[in-house]
């Protein structure tokens, strides 16, 4: 029962479905939405990765995942004014990791035996606390955030310019996919985490500290959340308190659910799928202004809700997962 090996077949199905969707969209002339969706979906995938990682190792729906990212953004904003951008990025990731560590130690560990719904409420409390502290230390004003790469017209696919920043996001995501895949199948630490998630008692018996692994997983997930934020948000230009929670958390959860909640590759594929569905559906006539039956407001929120509802009602185990 290797965590990732048994998912290989369903992963192939997922990738096959994605490729079929890509070909279909190109045939019907929606290739622009495809490219936009892919770049947007990569960001969802990265947040979803952290969610799946924590759910896999401790069975918690981590509602603070988005705020790990926002805190990293604030630290990046503070450090970047004063000095080197890349050092600031490292500082931001360190801050996210520290917050993940503190959350695990102070909130998750004391509630180790509590039902999972209680942990969900607790992590939601952590998220609200982070938003409150952000409002307190900064203010409600949006803050600018610098890009790592500023060139915008290096690559053009189907008439859509892909900024270098987006390119960096996609490359980082792909690299992370490979690295994490190797980490969880080839290293002792990775295998120990998989083991602890499947059989905590047996893992303790062979001399591995499940609690220390739990700390490590939370730090890793928080750093991933921070990385997603500092790479994806600069393309929007600015951010405010709770930026990652309001824009990314729910699409990322939907992506993770689509991927079966426990599957890391599933989280990637789910994120990209959500991004594509969103960008295709947003351009549907139903959401265009002036139409008789136009749906008001932000289309993407409604689309994510519908996808989530359909997936959970029709196939609760997710497209790629074994069981929910």
């Amino acid at each position: 029962m290797g965590g990732l090996f048994s998912e290989r077949r369903s992963l192939l199905i997922g990738i096959g479905a994605t490729v079929a969707l890509v070909v279909f969209l190109i045939v019907v002339g929606e290739e622009k939405s495809l490219v936009i969706g892919l770049t947007q979906g990569s960001a969802y995938g990265m947040v979803a990765l952290g969610l799946a990682l924590i759910y896999k190792s401790s069975g918690v729906f981590n509602f603070a995942q988005g705020e790990f990212g926002t805190v990293a953004l604030y630290v990046l904003y503070l450090l970047d004014i004063k000095g080197n951008y890349w050092l600031a990025i490292i500082g931001a990731l360190a801050a996210a990791g520290l917050m993940g560590f503190a959350t695990e130690r102070l909130v998750v560990r004391p509630l180790f035996e509590a039902p999972r719904v209680i942990l969900l409420v607790a992590t939601a409390g952590v998220a609200l606390l982070a938003i409150g502290v952000e409002l307190w230390f900064a203010d409600a004003q949006a803050k600018p955030v610098a890009k790592a790469f500023s060139r915008n017209d290096r690559i053009t696919v189907f008439d859509v310019q892909i900024t270098d920043q987006r390119l960096w996001l996609i490359v980082t995501l792909a690299a992370l996919a490979v690295l994490l895949g190797l980490f969880f199948t080839r290293t002792n630490l990775g295998l120990a985490i998989i083991g602890a998630s499947q059989e905590p008692t047996a893992t303790e018996l062979v001399g591995i500290s499940v609690r220390r692994l739990s700390s490590f997983t939370w730090v890793l997930a928080a750093v991933l959340g921070g990385l997603a934020a500092v790479i994806a948000i600069p393309d929007l230009g600015s951010f405010g308190p709770g930026a990652m929670t309001s824009n990314y958390l729910i699409p990322a959860f939907t992506a993770a659910v689509l991927g079966g909640m426990t599957s890391l590759p599933g989280a990637f594929v789910g994120g990209v799928l959500i991004g594509i569905i969103q960008s295709v559906a947003t351009s549907a006539p139903l959401f265009q202004d002036g139409g008789e039956l136009a749906i008001p407001g932000v289309p993407s929120t409604l689309i994510v809700f519908v996808v989530l509802l359909v997936v959970l009602v029709a196939r609760p185990q997710g497209l790629l997962g074994k069981r929910a």
Partner: protein
């Protein structure tokens, strides 16, 4: 197997307080009645509006408790139910020219109706996944439903005048206290009925409940609808208290504050829930009122002062986390010796009712 709330005193011979005991209890009851009924009379109108909000938050806390406390499902999108109730009543009164009472009824009906539809579709999943669906629905309400200009009056918001005969802030306050009393009574009656005991049974263990012939899905849906009705009612009352509804306040932060005040108040403890709701509604005001609290906040070394508006967002989650880890029964559990004593039982400082009030039996 059904954990009916058997009073320990009922089995061990009922405690009969002496005349002096009843007198003392009467004094405390009178003081409480004074605080709720007479005290607001002497306060300025702007403060009475806050008290009314506190009463409405009590109704919202009771609404969330039906779901979270009785059947162990969590709604992270309750701001949608409360907000839709607020807009429905404002719309019915302002745009349709109906009376306040029709508006409140419509808000309660729409609140129950949307719970019926959402629950009917999504209650196949429970626990974490149901929480996710409600959260996503809350965001849809925020981004889509509250953007329907005919319902919300656009960005300017929808006026919601106070009802005829209750135009002053004080009269409207008493009206809301009356509504709170009705909700408390309904909640109490419901939990004394067969269906109420069925809800408690299925929270303890859905499988065991199912073997006793309880339709788990239907009972959960019933609780969700009751919760929606209460939430719609609370929303309508909040709307007419502010005399105005705008789309802005009904956001995810508010949904979390609702959950926090319910859990901190104490699940399945009616006095605790009302106190929890009132506490969080009044928190910004309390910070200004408690002498020395302001300077205490300013003494915290931070780039900016913690303003009373933001303080609930910082203090609330801290209380929640401490609450979950140290006092899972919330305010209600801490107050239990006093509430039991007021009801005519012997004063027992160690009566925490632990068997009955344990948040940890909310199941995933």
């Amino acid at each position: 197997m059904v954990p009916a709330t058997v009073e320990p005193a009922a089995t061990a011979g009922r405690h009969r307080p002496s005349a002096a005991g009843w007198g003392l209890r009467g004094v405390v009851w009178a003081a409480l009645a004074y605080l709720v009924l007479v005290f607001p009379l002497g306060r300025p109108a702007t403060t009475v509006i806050l008290y009314t909000t506190a009463v409405c938050y009590g109704i919202v806390a009771l609404s969330l408790n039906v779901l979270l406390g009785y059947v162990g499902q969590i709604s992270l999108g309750h701001q949608a139910f409360v907000g839709v109730g607020a807009f429905t009543s404002a719309y019915v009164v302002t745009e349709q020219g109906q009376s306040f009472w029709v508006g409140v009824l419509a808000a309660a009906a729409i609140g129950g109706g949307q719970a019926l539809v959402l629950g009917g579709v999504s209650l196949r999943v429970r626990g974490l996944y149901f929480a996710l669906i409600t959260l996503s629905y809350g965001l849809v309400a925020q981004d889509n439903i509250f953007q329907i200009e005919r319902l919300t009056g656009g960005g300017a918001g929808q006026p919601a005048p106070k009802p005829q005969g209750f135009e002053t802030e004080w009269r409207y306050y008493y009206l809301c206290v009356g509504f709170l009393a009705v909700v408390l009574y309904l909640d109490w009656r419901m939990m004394r009925s067969k269906s109420g005991r069925a809800l408690l049974a299925l929270r303890e263990n859905p499988r065991v409940a199912a073997t006793f012939g309880i339709n788990v899905r239907l009972a959960t849906l019933f609780a969700f609808v009751v919760s929606g009705v209460f939430a719609g009612l609370g929303g309508a009352l909040i709307a007419h208290n502010d005399t105005f509804v705008s789309p802005d306040p009904w956001n995810f932060n508010l949904a979390l504050v609702f959950v926090i005040m319910t859990v901190v108040g104490g699940l399945r403890s009616r006095p605790g829930l009302v106190i929890g709701g009132a506490f969080f509604a009044l928190l910004p005001y309390l910070i200004e009122q408690i002498p020395g609290f302001d300077s205490l906040l300013e003494a915290i070394p931070a780039p900016r002062d913690l303003s009373p508006l933001i303080a609930p967002l910082v203090i609330g989650p801290l209380l929640l986390i401490v609450n979950l880890i140290r006092f899972p029964g919330g305010i209600g559990q801490q107050l239990r010796p006093i509430t039991r004593w007021l009801a005519g039982h012997r004063f027992d400082l160690h009566d925490r009712g632990l068997k009955e009030v344990q948040i940890t039996d909310v199941r995933a």
